[in-house]
């Protein structure tokens, strides 16, 4: 026990003296939370739209005006030449082309039907599909306006007016992507702090030769590893605290659920990722190897963790992979606690999964670390 305290004292002294790590503990949550929720948003705006108006009618002008007034679109061209619009699309200056054919107004007034053509640059798939669906929504509402005004006679106008779906978004009433992203970013912070710091730690002692001095001493390897876990664990929980404060003041996000539950999960999760980092550190020979391995896994953990794209829309085989991803569990849990206010009892299965990872990674690190080669 006394041996352990000497080791712990050493680890704390080393961490406290490492200015860069201390600066990162503050900078990481601040910068990530200040920038990422704004940048990593699914809400697509500023879609460049080129309108080709071959009709030159009152209605076509009205439609163009309506589109240019929308906050989703930038009107980059309101002209008559399809060739010119296509050129803009090819140069990447326009994402969408809307072509209003000749006799658009006439046909609409006479038959209550008119064709419009939309051309989409699908290189950025999200921009293309979301852009065309926004465009469709605006066209629908334009048509509804015309019917309401009696400009065109639409046989089922009354029916259409009655069946209107008004969604009610529970737990994130404004469908604000920031509310959705912030919990995910908190998890990312915990993962980075635990994983990367620990992954670099033992291997740096290997490079400096101090690990050999430890290996030739009677220090039990469990004590040595545990003394490494504890400082990272404290740093991780501190980072989370800073993150929560920033989420509160920058975005007004206050966890709907209990902070204690949130911390219970975070505590176990950081132990898991510190164990994961130590495991890499034990296996790697140089910091370079260690960093590369850590990044390989962390990228998979983030991309397969539901941070950016929902797990439920992944193909089944990919969903199976996420069962082995501790990050996926915590992202889910933190969103549920922060947004929905889920209690500990609701989250027991996830808790045991994360606990399982913590045990596996740390025990594996202990067995993988051999004082005698």
């Amino acid at each position: 026990m006394r041996t352990f305290l000497f080791l712990l004292e050493k680890e704390f002294k080393q961490i406290v003296r490492n200015r860069i790590i201390l600066a990162m503990i503050i900078a990481l949550p601040t910068i990530q939370l200040a920038i990422l929720p704004h940048a990593a948003t699914y809400e697509i705006r500023h879609i460049n739209l080129a309108v080709v108006d071959a009709d030159h009618s009152t209605l076509s002008a009205e439609l163009t005006a309506k589109l240019s007034a929308s906050r989703y679109f930038n009107l980059v061209l309101a002209g008559t030449s399809y060739e010119q619009a296509l050129e803009l699309l090819e140069d990447g200056k326009a994402h969408l082309i809307l072509e209003i054919p000749p006799h658009f107004e006439k046909s609409l007034r006479l038959t209550a039907k008119a064709g419009l053509m939309i051309a989409v640059d699908a290189v950025d798939g999200t921009m293309g599909s979301i852009g065309s669906s926004y465009l469709n929504q605006i066209l629908q509402s334009f048509a509804a306006d015309l019917i309401a005004r009696g400009d065109i006679a639409y046989p089922d106008a009354a029916l259409q007016a009655r069946v209107q779906v008004i969604p009610q978004y529970r737990y994130n009433t404004q469908l604000d992507y920031k509310t959705y992203m912030v919990p995910g970013i908190l998890v990312m912070l915990l993962t980075l702090v635990g994983g990367i710091l620990a992954a670099l730690n033992i291997v740096s002692e290997k490079e400096q030769g101090t690990l050999e001095q430890i290996n030739v001493s009677p220090v039990p390897k469990q004590s040595y590893l545990l003394a490494k876990v504890i400082p990272f664990w404290i740093i991780g929980l501190l980072t989370l605290a800073i993150g929560l404060v920033i989420a509160r003041f920058m975005y007004g996000i206050v966890p709907a659920g209990s902070l204690l539950t949130l911390y219970a999960f975070a505590a176990v999760y950081v132990v898991a990722f510190t164990g994961f980092g130590l495991l890499i550190s034990v296996a790697a020979k140089t910091q370079q190897q260690s960093m590369f391995i850590a990044f390989f896994f962390l990228l998979i953990f983030f991309l397969m963790g539901g941070l950016f794209t929902p797990i439920s829309s992944m193909p089944y085989w990919a969903q199976v992979i996420t069962w082995f991803n501790p990050t996926a569990y915590l992202i889910d849990v933190v969103r549920l606690i922060v947004m929905k206010g889920s209690g500990f009892a609701d989250l027991l299965p996830q808790f045991f999964c994360i606990l399982g990872f913590a045990v596996v990674f740390n025990v594996w690190a202990i067995f993988g670390y051999d004082k005698t080669a």
Partner: protein, 247 residues
């Protein structure tokens, strides 16, 4: 003749097809300075790592401080000190903190550590550097400190792997004075070196060539037997047989 604290028989270490240490046998007696000589790549460090419980033997057996080198490595580690070729105190800890850490992990009590630290630093004339980060010390001082740390917990045997690499002869001489002091306290010293003047300071030396021990005796006997004027000559005569290239 005093008892043997290290006994080794047919100790062998292979890495794949390469036999780094090839069936070596020897004994080291309590209280002696045992020089372990050999060219670079002769297998000195590999052999020493097996004695310290850092590496498992492929074949053969042996005991260090009465414990089996193949099975009781952690017991051995309680009874030895070790100073590696690569300087290995913590650069980001102060002088006293390094002493405290290593003394602590060998089970010494904090009070005793504090008292002994001051006593040691005074004896070395090093009190002024008590609060200096080890990183800032000159190499000669780092080596003296590393040695003092290696014997701080009063082990039975101390293993030194090329302890004086890269420093001038005067600093090396001072280092050897520390070794003699340790021997006076009853510590057995097992030291690898390729400085032949240092070989002269040892009670007995073994000379390894290509993983085998080619000669083992006191420097005086070796010189007599090989009709050499210095250990340097002895070493050259033996090392000439080497087939392996140095690493």
């Amino acid at each position: 003749m005093s008892e043997a604290v290290i006994k080794v028989e047919n100790l062998t270490k292979r890495f794949g097809d390469f036999t780094a240490v090839d069936h070596i046998s020897f004994e080291v007696r309590k209280g002696e300075i045992f020089g372990f000589l050999g060219a670079n790549g002769a297998g000195k460090t590999t052999a020493m790592r097996m004695l310290c419980g850092l590496s498992r033997p492929t074949e053969g057996h042996g005991t260090v401080a009465g414990f089996d080198i193949a099975r009781q490595q952690e017991q051995i580690k309680k009874n030895i000190g070790y100073m590696s070729q690569k300087f290995s105190l913590y650069n980001d800890l102060k002088v006293w903190e390094n002493i405290r850490l290593f003394a602590g992990i060998y089970g010494m009590k904090p009070k005793r550590i504090a008292a002994k630290t001051d006593e040691l630093l005074n004896r070395l004339g090093f009190m002024a550097e008590k609060n200096t980060f080890v990183e800032k010390l000159p190499l000669g001082w780092k080596q003296k400190l590393a040695f003092s740390v290696a014997i701080f917990h009063e082990p039975q045997i101390v293993f030194l792997d090329e302890p004086t690499g890269g420093v001038d002869p005067i600093t090396r001489r001072q280092f050897w004075e520390l070794i003699y002091e340790a021997v006076e306290q009853g510590i057995t010293v097992f030291v690898t070196t390729h400085y032949m003047d240092e070989a002269e300071y040892c009670d007995r030396v073994s000379i390894m060539v290509d993983g085998r021990i080619e000669a083992l005796d006191s420097p005086r006997e070796l010189k007599k037997r090989m009709e050499a004027r210095s250990m340097d000559e002895v070493f050259r005569q033996l090392a000439r047989k080497a087939q392996r290239s140095a690493d």
